[in-house]
């Protein structure tokens, strides 16, 4: 079951953000766990194109009816595109968090930083550990 929820080809950050590497660019989004905890997403305020993101710091917010959540950059990068589809239909983050629910595309400025991220199995184990805490 966990395998379906967390694609194998992605890397994962402990704040429940994923990365898909595409050459020297990367796409960021939030994981199934994060969208489930947040509830139905109603608002996404994206960073500006050209903004510089730092790994482990918040680059924006997602709002649901009853909660606000920071979105954390898994790696350093310069924003080259933001997903206007999510801005217009925030619920895409819930229905398709890894596909149409992507949030930003960046040009990676420190690709080596990706090594600090978890692979799918490590992330699934991490989630199991949270559940027991």
């Amino acid at each position: 079951m966990a395998d379906e929820l967390y694609p194998e080809d992605l890397r994962y950050h402990r704040e429940h953000d994923w990365v898909r590497l595409e050459g020297n660019e990367a796409v960021f989004g939030i994981t199934w766990f994060a969208q489930d905890a947040l509830g139905e997403v109603v608002f996404f305020e994206p960073p500006a194109v050209g903004a510089l993101l730092s790994a482990d710091t918040s680059y924006g917010e997602l709002e649901s009816v009853k909660a606000v959540s920071d979105i954390y950059a898994p790696a350093d990068g310069e924003v080259v595109a933001v997903n206007d589809g999510v801005v217009g239909s925030p619920e895409l983050v819930n229905s398709d968090p890894y596909g149409a629910g992507w949030l930003v595309r960046v040009r990676l400025t420190n690709p080596a930083g990706l090594d600090a991220l978890m692979d799918r199995d490590a992330y699934v184990a991490y989630l199991a550990g949270l559940d027991q805490a």
């Binding site: 509830g39 109603v42 608002f43 709002e63 649901s64 009816v65 009853k66 619920e91």
Partner: protein, 505 residues
């Protein structure tokens, strides 16, 4: 027993909602204004056309009977405290005495202009003075301002007073500490006052984690904001030590008075070491909540904070003809004003009437019975059939309110605290506060107050029993509740995603 409800499925309650703008017809009106009885001047001479309204605002065109029927029917879509039990934790939904409306309506109070000369407002100023004195007594702090308009306004006053105190000493600080159980207004206020919030942990007994506090209480801390009893309904037995830790680093200690109903006449924040206290007159002092205000949030402070109090202040001078009251604005170190005029005087009248009715002994008794009622209800909810599913996380007597966790209910019966709350609506009671404080999983915060009868508490416990029993056999009933209210569960996600915030006209 089938659920009873105050929202019987009558045609009126179930009719489709229509706003006042959807009623009436062109040409109808309710008001009749006096004729223009002065010699008239040409319109353009009085007001050049470039300032003139091009199109009149599209207000309703309705007769008086239409207005009354519209709002009376609307009122029947509200549950209210006079109609039923309302155990909203942290809100102190106690009975609103009807005497207070009669007193507040006296023209000498209600028709008094705020800028009337003090010589001709002695009754009002004396009332404010007496109220201040009573609040000072309850708080154990001598200096009071009635100006703030709500609890969170009082909090803002308190943090701004703290800022003024430190700035006056040339001591710049940048942090305010709040417990992680704090009401959301506390951290919001801190940001508005220009400080950074740092959270302090809670220990296993539900009190402030002293080790965490000692580590975080540095000389960069301006203030610690606390409620005692806290939002878990528990009195922090370490309060004296907490005060010492905070004062040792030169910070102020702020008391959020939302939970004052537990301790009036029993213990005083000033004696616990607090420097600044705010009161919620719409909680312990019976000002009706009005569906979201008005309220008032007066503050009481210690000697060292008094110079910074907002102005105007009420003064009292003994003269040969008796006491004379005045409004004083000339205080060199004041933080200034937080609003216009003197504050929500109409609320002062009601709170003052309450204090006159109860006296010191009555206030103490109110708190004692509030604590008794909460502990009784807590004991009733530990009964088999409920106690396994709604667990009380702290094994000690509560004060005027208590928390239960619906975690076991969620895991074993498959219904969440939200579903339990919605199902209660079908039984004609208002649910307790839910999902606050955030520390407790699937939290319910329950505050019965002292004005509820024993039978009401027992009936509420019985309702919970029935809902738990129902959930054991058919959890989907609660998950899809309510059934008998004027509307059922509402789509809040669409309302947030695509807001419709006014009627298109």
């Amino acid at each position: 027993m089938s659920p009873s409800t105050d929202f019987a499925q009558t045609a009126q309650q179930r009719e489709a909602a229509r706003t006042i703008f959807e009623r009436g017809a062109p040409g109808r009106r309710a008001s009749h204004l006096p004729d223009i009885d002065v010699p008239t001047r040409p319109r353009d001479e009085l007001l050049p056309s470039r300032f003139r309204r091009a199109q009149a605002p599209k207000l309703p065109e309705v007769s008086e009977p239409e207005i009354v029927r519209h709002y009376v029917r609307l009122s029947k879509r509200n549950f209210d405290l006079d109609s039923g039990f309302y155990p909203l934790g942290s809100c102190t939904m106690k009975y609103n005495p009807k005497l207070h409306e009669r007193a507040a309506a006296l023209p000498g109070h209600s028709r008094l202009h705020p800028l009337q000369r003090p010589e001709r407002a002695q009754g009002a100023l004396e009332l404010m003075w007496n109220l201040q004195h009573a609040l000072a007594e309850v708080a154990g702090l001598p200096h009071v301002s009635l100006q703030p308009s709500a609890g969170s306004h009082g909090e803002l006053a308190g943090v701004l007073l703290t800022r003024a105190y430190h700035e006056d000493r040339g001591d710049a600080r940048d942090i305010v500490l709040t417990p992680d159980t704090a009401h959301g207004t506390n951290p919001a206020t801190v940001t508005m006052a220009g400080y950074r919030v740092v959270g302090v942990g809670t220990n296993a007994d539900g009190g402030v984690d002293l080790d965490d506090l000692r580590e975080k209480a540095t000389d960069r801390v301006a203030c610690l904001m606390l409620t005692n009893p806290n939002t878990l309904g528990l009195f922090d037995q370490n309060i004296t030590e907490i005060a010492e830790i905070v004062h040792d680093v030169g910070a102020t200690l702020y008391y959020d008075g939302a939970n004052l109903n537990a301790i009036m006449g029993i213990s005083r924040p000033g004696d616990m070491g607090f420097d600044i206290v705010h009161f919620n007159l719409h909680k312990s002092f019976t000002q009706p909540h009005g569906g979201g205000g008005p309220g008032a949030g007066p503050i009481a402070v210690s000697d060292r904070i008094a110079p910074y109090l907002p102005v105007p202040l009420v003064s009292r001078t003994e003269t040969s003809v008796g006491p004379v009251f005045d409004l004083v604005g000339d205080r060199p170190k004041t933080i200034g004003r937080l609003r216009g005029f003197q504050g929500n005087y109409g609320v002062f009248v009601r709170a003052y009437a309450y204090i006159c009715s109860l006296g010191g002994e009555g206030l103490r008794r109110a708190s004692e019975v509030a604590v008794l009622n909460a502990n009784y209800l807590r004991a009733l909810l530990r009964a088999p059939g409920v106690g396994e599913y709604l667990v009380t996380p702290f094994d000690r007597h509560c004060m005027h309110e208590f928390v239960v966790s619906g975690g076991p209910m969620k895991r074993e019966l498959g219904i969440r605290t939200l579903d339990l709350a919605k199902r209660m609506l079908d039984f004609g009671v208002h649910p307790p506060t839910v999902y606050f404080p955030q520390l407790i999983d699937e939290c319910l915060l329950i505050e019965p107050t002292e004005t509820e009868t024993r039978e009401t508490l027992e009936a509420f416990a019985q309702i919970i029993q029935e809902i738990m029993a129902e959930a054991r056999s058919s959890p989907e009933t609660a998950r899809n509740a309510p059934y008998t209210t004027p509307v059922r569960r509402l789509d809040e996600a669409t309302a947030a995603r695509s807001p419709i915030l006014r009627q298109p006209l």
